[in-house]
Amino acid sequence: MVSMVETQSEGQQDLQVGEILVDAQNITKHFPLETGLIANMLSRGEIPSVKAVDGVSFFIRKGEVFGLAGESGSGKSTIARLVLRLLELTDGKILFNGIDLHSLSMEDMRHMRSRMQLVFQDPLASLNPRMTIGRAIEHPAQIHFPELTDDQRKERVLEILEAVGLVPAGNFYDLYPHQISGGQRQRIVLARALVTRPELIVADEPIAMADVSVRALLLDQMLELKDNFDLTYLYITHDLATAKYICDRIGILYLGKLVEIGEINLLFSKPLHPYTQALLAAVPVPDPRMRRTEALPKGEIPNPINPPSGCRFHPRCPFAEEICSKEEPLLRELKPEHQVACHFAEKFA
């Protein structure tokens, strides 16, 4: 394991710095509320909406693991779907290898999809119980590479099965999802994502369902596959401890806004946003000598239909002053590789 982490950081230095795979610029997604005809007429066209993602900008470098973390309703899964264009943007732009994704025609987008894949939380729910593992992995290849013969396709599936550590691959090819273990299922889901040789894997809570004792293995396997297949990950999670383990950089979301973004160790060792500080302090630690002593923020996450003015965290922030309710703090670079959206971030630096 130690040696693997080392090779990982060496690999990073080899990359041309600044080569960006995903560039999300001011992306916004509002979901209008279904209010019905009469309510719409009464509201004179101003339909209330859930501001799930509200002006978020970030980039993902080639070859890195970029994390997005936040509590439920923070917009992290919506962003994942916007990056894959499984949802349409309300505003903003997403560049993938410099190509404006959301301006592509449906046909062009379909071709683009082979280069980006999504891995979900529950592997059993994302595998068809009546499809053999071989067929499940073959399926995306059939769609994206119709020119391959049956034998070539099968060859490719066996290769991938071996790559994810399911050996002998021939034995797994004809099994059904219920015949294998949960950890193996998660690898099947990864194998299926890899068969189209994507550049980007969007992983939405990929290990949340896995048992504690196999999580570490799955994470290390994801890192290994990243190196072997030259992948880039967008890792969506609410679990900050595993994020720290796997991510190179991370963005912290609160109510549809990015409050802080930076290199993972910088951000976790010295969080500059009061929300990040609270979030990190609240994570239960598997050591009774390190029990939490910090106070927790008051109240609960407000309604995203009517988010607070100014800084969205101000009603719960222990450091809030007048300006926080009036002016929205912009994301600014306080240190290299570390940006924060807080009027008073200097005092935590």
């Binding site: 504690v212 570490a216 994570v283 630690v285």
Partner: protein
Amino acid sequence: MQEEILYSIRDLTVSYHTRAGDVVAVDDVTMDVMSGEILGLVGESGCGKSTLGKALLRLHTGLAEITSGELVFEGTDLMKLAPREMTNIRGAKLGMIFQDPMTSLNPVQRIVDHIKETILAHEAVSELVAEQRAGEIIELLGIRRERLDDYPHQMSGGMRQRVMISLALALHAELVVADEPTTSLDVIVEAKFLDLLKDLQEKFNLTILMITHNIGVVAEVADRVAVMYAGKIMEIGTVDEVFLKPKHPYTQGLLSSVPNIKLDDKDLYHMEGMPPNLLDPPKGCRFHPRCPYVMDKCRSQVPQLTVIEGRQKAACFLYEEVKAREVVNG
């Protein structure tokens, strides 16, 4: 810590009668719950921890059956009680909260009615008194009294979980079995709920059996912890004993495979293999196929939970030899 036993589980075995055969989910478990403590029960999915929790209230249904054992609560073996008597104890003295409060609350019943119903089912008081008490309880739990008229869907997940515990407190339950109570909660809400549990423990001397897969949660709130694997208790002790000096190889592996956000530890342990299928569990020690220290004996004989040091017990033959040597050396 209090040393009085509140609930004593003796040789408890719970089986599920499935078409494929009997699954022994809880296998000959003996364990004491001390009065006023928070006892963490940790284990991975399918280890039997939830089945054990439900059995304490004799809440098992359907295919599950308590095939043997005693459940001694305040001197009475609950196994000997008639269903009617058990119903009286359940709710009044033993409470239970589940992972998803939304499925435990009635969506078309207001919060106040949930609490009132619980009180009126067990006590001969007027509706007015019950309503008054409902208000007091939820205020105590940090929910404003006005919210009593809300329906469950109008509340946040954290509040719903507070309502669940209010149902246990309404009747001054002595033991609350909490099955993954914070698993559906966000991390800050979770931390607040854990603070609340500790508060209740102190104020009311409430005893809590906290069932969870989250090792961190146990380290954060529990006084003692029991580690369960494939239907058996592998180790039990105070949190300091078990977390700082884990004895059973399973506990050791489990603890070192969990990342600690406060440390820069990039070296997580990979445990070999998977938990066994309980339809056909391994002979001998159930952990032996995954154990790095496996000995011949482990493959055929079942190790018993024995005292290792202080209050710490483990079910592992590794320590038997150590013990034997100590005896020889006097």
